[in-house]
C-alpha cells in the first residue's frame, strides 16, 4: 500500500480549457481522502489523472513514492471503481474479478484463491457464476469493489461509486465501504458529489471548486472552520445561512447588525475590528439557532425576533424557514452552489431566507411570531469582497 502525492498538478485540455490549477494533496498511506465539489469542478479529472486515464499537463503525481506521470495505468498498481461499475457484461462475476489477475498471468489456483477470498469478504460468493445482467444494483456495486480488492493494489480510486444506487442502499453501502476500508487499510481516493458521503466517509475531505483546491482537512475541521463562503455553503445540510451584517465595535465588544436585529458577537476574531463600519457576510449554521423556549441560555445568549414562514417537522428535527427584509447575499460562490442544485440566483428573491434547526418538541405554528435564540460562538464571518473567512 502506498501514499499518493499530488504536487502542483494542473490540467489544460487540448482545446485550452483549464480543468485544474495548482492542486496539492498529500494522501498518507492507508488514508481515505474524499474529493468533493459541484459538477464540473475537476474532481473526477483529478482522479482520472491519478489513474492514468488523463494526461498530467502540469505538476507531478506519485504513487508509493514513484512518479507516475509517464507510467501507463496498468503499471501504476491502482484499482478503480467506476460510477457505472463498468463490469464486463459478457463475463461472469468470477471472470470479472479474475480478469486483471489473468492478464498478470498469475497461476490458476492462486487466482481462484484470491477471487474466492475477495468474494467472501464482500459476501458475493453465491453470485460468482452469474452474469452482471442478473445482479441487482447493490450486487453490481459489490462486484465492482471485488474487482478492485482482488488485486490488493497500492490504492483504490473511486469515482462516485454509490451515485447509481437508491437512497436507502447508498446509506448501507456507505457504511460497508467504510468498514471495508478499516479492514483493508488501503489508501483510497474517493470522488463524490454528495457532501454527506464526503463528511461520513473521509478521513480527510478536499473541497474543490472550479479546478482549485479550496480546503483539505478532516470533516469536522471543514465543518467548523470553513475557509471561505464556498466551503461553508457547500458543506452542511441544510446549508449555512448567509446574511449581510454591519460591524460596530465598542468597549463592550462587537455588535452585528442585520436588518432590525442586533446581536453581540462573542469570541469574534480580532480581525473583525478592521471591518468597523463596513459590511461583512455573516454565516449562521441552522443548528446555531434554537427556539428560545428550549435554548440553553448559557450558550444561546442572543435572540432575534422572527415570523415563521414554513415549518418542516422531520420527527428527529424541526426546521423553520423565515425571511428577513435584507438584500440576499449574492456572491459568485453562492451562485455556483445554487447552480449545482439546478437553481439560479433569482430564487434568492429580494429577501434573505434563513433555515433554523430547532428542538423537535417545540410547539410552533406557521405564521407565528417567535423569539429565536442564537449561539454567538458558532458564527462565521466572511469578507464580502474575497469570500474568505475572517479569522
Amino acid at each position: 500500500m502506498g501514499a499518493i502525492n499530488i504536487n502542483n498538478v494542473g490540467k489544460i485540455y487540448p482545446n485550452g480549457t483549464r480543468a485544474l490549477e495548482d492542486v496539492n494533496i498529500e494522501i498518507n498511506d492507508g488514508e481515505f481522502v474524499v474529493l468533493v465539489g459541484p459538477s464540473g469542478c475537476g474532481k473526477t479529472t483529478l482522479l482520472r489523472m491519478v489513474a492514468g486515464l488523463e494526461d498530467i499537463t502540469e505538476g507531478e503525481i506519485s504513487i508509493a513514492d514513484k512518479v507516475v506521470n509517464e507510467i501507463a495505468p496498468k503499471d501504476r498498481d491502482i484499482a478503480m471503481v467506476f460510477q457505472n461499475y463498468a463490469l464486463y457484461p459478457h463475463m461472469s462475476v468470477y471472470d470479472n474479478m479474475a480478469f486483471s489477475l489473468k492478464l498478470r498471468k498469475l497461476p490458476k489456483d492462486e487466482i481462484d484463491q484470491k477471487v474466492k477470498d475477495a468474494a467472501k469478504t464482500l459476501e458475493i460468493d453465491e453470485l460468482l457464476e452469474r452474469k452482471p445482467k442478473a445482479l441487482s444494483g447493490g450486487q453490481r456495486q459489490r462486484v465492482a469493489m471485488g474487482r478492485a480488492i482482488v488485486r490488493n493494489p497500492q490504492a483504490f480510486l473511486m469515482d462516485e461509486p454509490l451515485s447509481n444506487l437508491d437512497a436507502k442502499l447508498r446509506v448501507q453501502m456507505r457504511a460497508e465501504l467504510g468498514q471495508l476500508h478499516s479492514q483493508l487499510e488501503t489508501t483510497t481516493l474517493y470522488v463524490t458529489h454528495d457532501q454527506v458521503e464526503a463528511m461520513t466517509m473521509g478521513d480527510r475531505v478536499a473541497v474543490i471548486r472550479k479546478g482549485v483546491l479550496q480546503q483539505i482537512d478532516t470533516p469536522r475541521e471543514i465543518y467548523l472552520y470553513p475557509k471561505n463562503i464556498f466551503v461553508a455553503g457547500f458543506i452542511g445540510s441544510p446549508a449555512m445561512n448567509f446574511v449581510y451584517a454591519d460591524i460596530k465595535t465598542s468597549a463592550k465588544g462587537t455588535t452585528l447588525i442585520f436588518g432590525n436585529d442586533k446581536i453581540s458577537a462573542k469570541d469574534a476574531p480580532e480581525a473583525l475590528k478592521e471591518y468597523e463600519g463596513k459590511e461583512i457576510v455573516l454565516g449562521i449554521r441552522p443548528e446555531a439557532f434554537e427556539d428560545s423556549v428550549y435554548a440553553n441560555k448559557k450558550e444561546f445568549t442572543e435572540e432575534i425576533n422572527i415570523d415563521v414562514s414554513l415549518l418542516e417537522q422531520l420527527g428527529s428535527d424541526t426546521y423553520i424557514h423565515f425571511f428577513k427584509d435584507i438584500k440576499p447575499v449574492q456572491t459568485e460562490a453562492i451562485e455556483e452552489i445554487l447552480a449545482d442544485e439546478g437553481e439560479d440566483i433569482s430564487v434568492l428573491g429580494t429577501q434573505t431566507k434563513f433555515i433554523a434547526r430547532i428542538n423537535p418538541n417545540a410547539t410552533i405554528e406557521e405564521g407565528q411570531n417567535i423569539n429565536l435564540a442564537i449561539d454567538p460562538t458558532k458564527l462565521h464571518y466572511f469578507d464580502p469582497e474575497t469570500g474568505m473567512a475572517i479569522t
Partner: protein, 288 residues
C-alpha cells in the same frame, strides 16, 4: 350475438392474421414453386404449375452424376469463396471499426468520410477498372490475379469492408468507454481491450455482418462471371447460368434443383443463428 362477437374479434385481432397470412403466402409461393418444379417433368416455364402432374428426380440426377457438370465442385467453390470473404470481411471490418471507434489518430474523420463517399458509388461502375487491375496483377502475382478465388475474395472484400466497418463502428460506439478504461486499469493492452472486451461484446453485429456478407457473395453472379474463367473454379451461379441457359432456352428444372440444393444450407444457417441475427439487428437501440 354470435356474429357481433366474431366481428369484434376480427376487428381486434382477426385482420392481423389475415394480413400475416397474405405476407406468408407471398413469401412462401416462390419457394414452393421452385421446390415443386425441381421435381417436375416440365419442358419449360410456360407450362409449369405449382403442383406438377408427375414427379421425377432427373434434374437432381443430372446435377450429381453428369461428369460435364461438376456441380458439387461449384458448390464447394461458392462456399469457400463466400465463407472466406465473409470471414475476412468481419475480421478486417472489426479491426477497422475498433480503430475508428476507440483510437485517436490523425485522419480519423477524413478516413471515416472517405469510406462513406467511396461506398456511394455502385460497384458496377468499377467493373472495368477491377478487371484491368487484376489483369495486370495476374502478370506479377498470378496466384491472386484474374480467374483465381483469391483475387475474387479480394474484390469482394474491397466492395464491402467500408460499409461494414461503419456498421460495426456504430455498434461499438454504444459500448460504454468506461469498460475500456476499466480494462486499461486492470492491465489490458490496447489489443487485449479489443480482443477480450470490445470484440466479444460486438458479437451480435458481427454475426449479422457475417451472414449478410456471406449470403450476398453466395448469390453474386456478375462479379464471379467476369472474374472466373476456369470451369472448375466457377461458383454455382456462374456454372448453372453458363451451362443450362442459352439465348433461346433455359432448363428450369435443373436451375430449380440446383437452387434447392444450394439454398438448403443457408436456410439451416439462418435457423441456427436466428436469435443472434434478430438480436444483432435490434441491439444498440436499447442500452442494456
Amino acid at each position: 350475438m354470435e356474429i357481433s362477437k366474431f366481428t369484434n374479434w376480427f376487428k381486434e385481432y382477426g385482420w392481423r392474421h389475415l394480413v400475416g397470412l397474405m405476407f406468408v403466402t407471398f413469401a412462401i409461393y416462390p419457394i414452393l414453386f421452385v421446390l415443386t418444379n425441381s421435381f417436375a417433368d416440365f419442358a419449360n416455364l410456360t407450362n409449369s404449375k405449382l403442383i406438377p402432374n408427375s414427379l421425377t428426380l432427373k434434374h437432381y440426377k443430372l446435377l450429381s452424376g453428369d461428369p460435364l457438370v461438376p456441380y458439387f465442385q461449384w458448390l464447394y467453390n461458392t462456399y469457400k469463396v463466400a465463407f472466406l470473404a465473409a470471414l475476412f470481411n468481419v475480421f478486417l471490418g472489426t479491426l477497422a471499426a475498433f480503430a475508428f471507434s476507440r483510437l485517436q489518430f490523425r485522419g480519423r474523420r477524413a478516413g471515416l468520410l472517405t469510406l462513406v463517399i467511396v461506398q456511394m458509388f455502385p460497384s458496377f461502375l468499377a467493373f472495368v477498372a477491377i478487371y484491368l487491375l487484376f489483369f495486370q496483377i495476374s502478370d506479377v502475382a498470378p496466384f491472386m490475379g484474374l480467374g483465381t478465388h483469391f483475387g475474387l475474395i479480394l474484390v469482394y472484400l474491397g466492395g464491402s469492408i467500408g460499409f461494414n466497418s461503419w456498421l460495426i463502428k456504430g455498434f461499438m460506439d454504444t459500448i460504454s468507454p468506461s469498460l475500456d478504461e476499466a480494462a486499461k486499469v486492470d492491465g489490458a493492452s490496447e489489443y487485449q481491450i479489443f480482443s477480450k472486451i470490445i470484440a466479444p461484446l460486438s458479437r451480435p453485429i458481427l454475426v449479422v455482418i457475417f451472414v449478410i456478407t456471406f449470403i450476398g457473395i453466395y448469390s453474386d453472379f456478375i462479379l464471379a462471371a467476369i472474374f472466373l474463367k476456369d470451369k472448375n473454379l466457377w461458383t454455382v451461379a456462374v456454372g448453372i447460368n453458363t451451362v443450362f441457359v442459352d439465348d433461346f432456352n433455359a432448363d428450369w428444372g435443373v436451375i430449380a434443383a440446383s437452387s434447392v440444393i444450394a439454398a438448403t444450407p443457408i436456410a439451416v444457417l439462418f435457423i441456427f443463428f436466428q436469435k443472434q441475427i434478430t438480436g444483432g439487428l435490434t441491439a444498440g437501440s436499447v442500452k442494456g
